[in-house]
Amino acid sequence: MNLIGLFITSVLAENVVLTKFLGMCPFFGVSKDKEGSFGMGLAVMLVITLSSLVTYFLYNYVLVPSDTEYLRTLLFILVIASFVQLFDIIIKKNFKSLHNSLGIYLPLISTNCAVLGVVLLNIQNKFTLLEVLTYSIGSSFGFMLVIYIFSTIRERLKHAPIIRSFRGLPIAFITAFIMALVFSRYIGA
């Protein structure tokens, strides 16, 4: 498969948030301010890429030869959770300033369905190593892009005159609806 095509598709037309609904909790929870969503996006990007690589090797060289593919969910969630922990420790030790800005988002990532979702999609689509790399970078970049755009819109929504019952989450969903419409048009008819 064409790698550039795969990258663009995973960022725009098959955006993980807007078409596959992965990572909804941070999408609506964290996206209240710009800086926060940017930090969250970066952290998710790193974790997705690294854990995609590790799970690719684990799946193809440990689970498949030993005929225990059904253990993938258990194993993958373990990999992701320990990755997040490891990552937290390394950043805390070596990059103090980065840890201060990312710190609170890291524990949230292990229960972020975008990570497990992308890892599972890699396996389901039977990607090769290069495709795994492209797809995970692409889809996590898509996550970051969408969550950042969404947070800038939400900052303006705070001051908009909206019917009282629709303030907060309902209008956020409707905003997401318009974004999803725009993104799905990238497929072209």
């Binding site: 609506f28 258990l74 389901q124 009282r164 629709f166 409707i174 419409l181």
Partner: protein, 209 residues
Amino acid sequence: MKKIIKWLMDENPLFVLCLGLCPALAVTTNFENGYLMGLCVMMVLLLSNITVSLLSRFISDHMRVPAYIMIIATFVTILELLLQTYVEPLSKVLGIYIPLIVVNCIILGRALSYASKHKLKDSILDALKIGLGYTLALGLLGFIRELIGSNTITIMDRISGLTGYVMKYEVFPTNDFIPNALFTSPAGAFLTMGLVLGIINMLRKGDVK
């Protein structure tokens, strides 16, 4: 009747607490997928609540989250294998959203905040309440999206191999009603969810007055 609705809606995981959004939006393209996904989540929630409330005395505090995730992941794997064997068409449609039940915040949230602190009986009741509320919410979303999006209501189609019945109805005569496929597309999920949330907010305010 009013009491039952209040019991299910007061702490409804989807509409009030806004947890478990990811499967709620992804699989509710028709009524059947919606309520079956809800039932799957309810089953895992029930089993994990039972296990957690029985085992919580033996799990030390700083190992709680990893231990609970492992418990949940085990039940999800069991469910996944069962679905693959007995209702293959369903497991094909729900796809990766079945393993993703592991990271559904509802289940881990209930395990941490309720089941680990309460007795077995209360934990089972809690799981039933939250699970039923979630199933109801997913069913409602699926119902609305399927009705407007494809003018049908599917009660049993993909599980017909198990039950032996196919129940799929057209609602309006085809000449009178043109379905809007937008509602079954991913974007429509956001719209339906936003509208339902807003309308529920409106109704709740009516209650207060």
